[in-house]
């Protein structure tokens, strides 16, 4: 009996499409998170804070209650993820508790209780942790995970771009230190100081400090130009990462299609699998139809 409830609760909280309730749960959590973040932002405006202090306090209390219930429900229900022979109920629970989402859920909620026991704690840290609640939303954004996946698959290219950026920053910062260190010691007196200047120049193309010497001017120009190159390199890498991901998805789908057409006909079950895959890979209907025609033609040509 409890296992049944546990299982259903797990599926609902996990956002499985089997239950309509899972969508409502998603909406409610999203709503509470958004209200919370707006409250933290508004609370920082002194005038609003003076007027609605009690309301914000009340809101915070009830949100913490809500998130605590959510956290406990998740931990409890995830006990049903693995059967007894497969690691027992605590395997699924620990898996969740130490996953990025679990940690976010924990740190977005629990510090409030800490504050209850230790009232002298720095309030600013508490406020930062409250804002972590916005990260709870990323659980529901699969495209975001796609994006990180695309970037992850191109991590080598990104690594080399970051390496280039580091070298460019350090070289231009040290050159600037030698060229301008005596003239503007407050900005270029140490290399870490000029590193700040060179990152600002590379990213925005506009330095916060005007160089005074001819050599400094030349270095500033080259640094600004390097910034444009860096932006181009980064853009190129991300664009190719995206199109590679699309190509990979299409290849996977096509392989599946060929598998389906191997025996010549398409059963309902196979059709369903393909539809699920299509939704998962976010392919358009036209693309799929064209691929299907191609696969059909190929299989008929082989006969």
């Amino acid at each position: 009996m409890t296992t049944g409830i546990k299982n259903t609760l797990m599926e609902i909280l996990d956002g499985s499409p089997k239950h309509t309730a899972s969508r409502y749960v998603e909406w409610i959590i999203t709503f509470v998170v958004l209200v919370n973040c707006s409250a933290v932002i508004l609370d920082s405006v002194p005038e609003i804070h003076a007027e609605f202090k009690d309301f914000f306090h009340e809101l915070e209390f009830w949100s913490v209650m809500f998130f605590t219930v959510e956290y406990i429900a998740r931990v409890w229900s995830l006990g049903a993820k693995y059967s007894r022979d497969n690691g027992g109920s605590w395997k699924g629970r620990f898996e969740y508790m130490f996953s990025p989402f679990g940690l976010v859920d924990f740190f977005a909620t629990m510090p409030h209780y800490l504050h209850m026991f230790f009232p002298t704690l720095d309030l600013r840290i508490l406020r930062v942790l409250r804002l972590l609640r916005i990260l709870k939303l990323s659980k529901y954004n699969t495209a975001l995970q796609d994006l990180f996946h695309a970037i992850h698959s191109e991590r080598q290219a990104f690594g080399s771009a970051v390496f280039l950026l580091t070298i460019a920053t350090i070289v231009s910062a040290s050159l600037m230190h030698f060229a301008e260190g005596h003239h503007q010691p407050e900005f270029f007196g140490t290399i870490p100081h000029s590193i700040y200047w060179s990152i600002v120049t590379i990213t925005s193309g506009y330095g916060n400090v005007e160089p005074l010497t001819k050599a400094g001017e030349a270095i500033a120009l080259i640094t600004g130009f390097l910034g444009v190159c860096m932006a181009a390199i980064m853009t190129g890498i991300v664009a190719s990462a995206f199109s590679n991901q699309v190509a990979r998805k299409k290849a996977a789908f096509e392989a599946q299609l060929r598998e389906v057409f191997k025996d010549g006909n398409m059963s309902d079950e196979e059709k369903e699998t393909l539809q699920r895959l299509q939704a998962h890979y976010r392919l358009s209907d036209e693309q799929v139809e064209a691929m299907m025609l191609r696969a059909k033609n190929k299989s008929s040509a082989q006969e």
Partner: protein, 322 residues
């Protein structure tokens, strides 16, 4: 000129035919010289209108040519009104051959993007005649909407919308990323630097303003005072490059995917045509129209045809081997 076209055939029994012809000319469905003429005329008028609105906002020019501008506006409103009425009247033909009622096509047009644009960019002029007290600046803004009439003749705008729509997940995730980082970074800078620079970061909304400027331009006009603040500023600036790169990447992918989608569409059409083994003249024009609609180059079409033929040969060779 459009009116002259419709009065050409005068017998009332051929009203249906006139309507059909007007629809074809207005919609540009069958590319002939009349519809092209209408297209160019309206496009030129729109461009002249927009230039007029821009010039009119310069006080000296406005005073010198007040009467001319007014006459020109009257003329444009007359032409656009005739265009709108003709479109509403003739679009009843759109679905009549597919079994739809006369009002299906009209309703679709009136509530479509272009229908609303045609209406909104013309009708306020009449409103002004009825209620002379209306604010002229609002009226001018509505007049500027005429520029959207041009996008009917150019698929660039539609292409963009379609590309964005197809990649809406990636776009939304990029926006989401921006949203999350905006919240986190502006709160962090408020917490770290709020005490040191209360005039720049008095509240989180003020810090959000700083964040948006930094993301857009790469430099938020504020130098951090604390070490943690410097780190945060540097991180924000790097994030600004990354976000620009992600958005560019998404757009680039969206466009590439769209080209592929079109090729797939065209390929399907060619396969359909070739499926019975013969290509009739009608099918040939159909393919031509489709090629023009999808904006595909002759080389692309040639490549697709070549691929089809190769496939056919392989299939035949296999048959003979059997």
């Amino acid at each position: 000129m459009t009116r002259a076209m419709t009065t050409e055939a005068s017998t009332p029994t051929s009203l249906q035919r006139i309507k059909r012809r007007t629809f074809e000319i207005m919609e540009g469905e069958v590319p002939d010289k009349y519809s092209q003429f209408v297209e160019i005329f309206i496009a030129l008028l729109v461009v002249a209108n927009v230039i007029g609105i821009i010039l009119e906002s310069v006080p000296e020019i406005h005073e010198a040519f007040m009467a001319e501008f007014h006459a020109f506006d009257m003329f444009s409103v007359a032409v656009f009104s005739i265009e709108f009425v003709l479109r509403v009247w003739s679009y009843s033909e759109k679905y009549i051959h597919n079994g739809g009622s006369a009002w299906d096509g009209r309703k679709e047009y009136v509530f479509s993007f272009y229908g609303i644009i045609d209406f909104v960019s013309t009708v306020p002029f009449y409103l002004q005649l009825i209620f002379p007290g209306a604010d002229l600046r609002v009226l001018r803004m509505f007049r500027l909407m005429r520029i959207f009439k041009l996008s009917r003749y150019n698929s660039a705008f539609e292409d963009m919308v379609a590309a964005v729509k197809a990649e809406k997940d990636s776009f939304s995730s990029a926006v989401f990323l921006l949203f999350i980082s905006c919240l986190l970074f502006s709160s962090l800078i408020y917490i770290i630097e709020g005490h040191e620079q209360p005039e720049v970061f008095p509240s989180i909304p003020a810090a959000m303003h700083w964040f948006v400027i930094t993301i857009v331009s790469g430099w938020g006009n504020v130098d951090p005072v604390t070490f943690l603040g410097s780190l945060l500023v540097i991180l924000t600036q790097i994030l600004s490059i990354a976000l620009a790169a992600i958005l560019t990447g998404v757009v680039a992918t969206a466009y590439t995917a769209q080209v592929e989608r079109r090729q797939a569409l065209y390929e399907m059409e060619v396969r359909n045509v070739l499926s019975d083994g013969v290509v009739t003249a009608e099918e040939q024009t159909q393919l031509k129209v489709m090629q023009a609609k999808l904006g595909m180059s002759d080389e692309q079409v040639e490549a697709i045809k070549h691929q089809m033929e190769e496939e056919k040969q392989i299939a035949e060779a296999n048959k003979q081997a059997k």
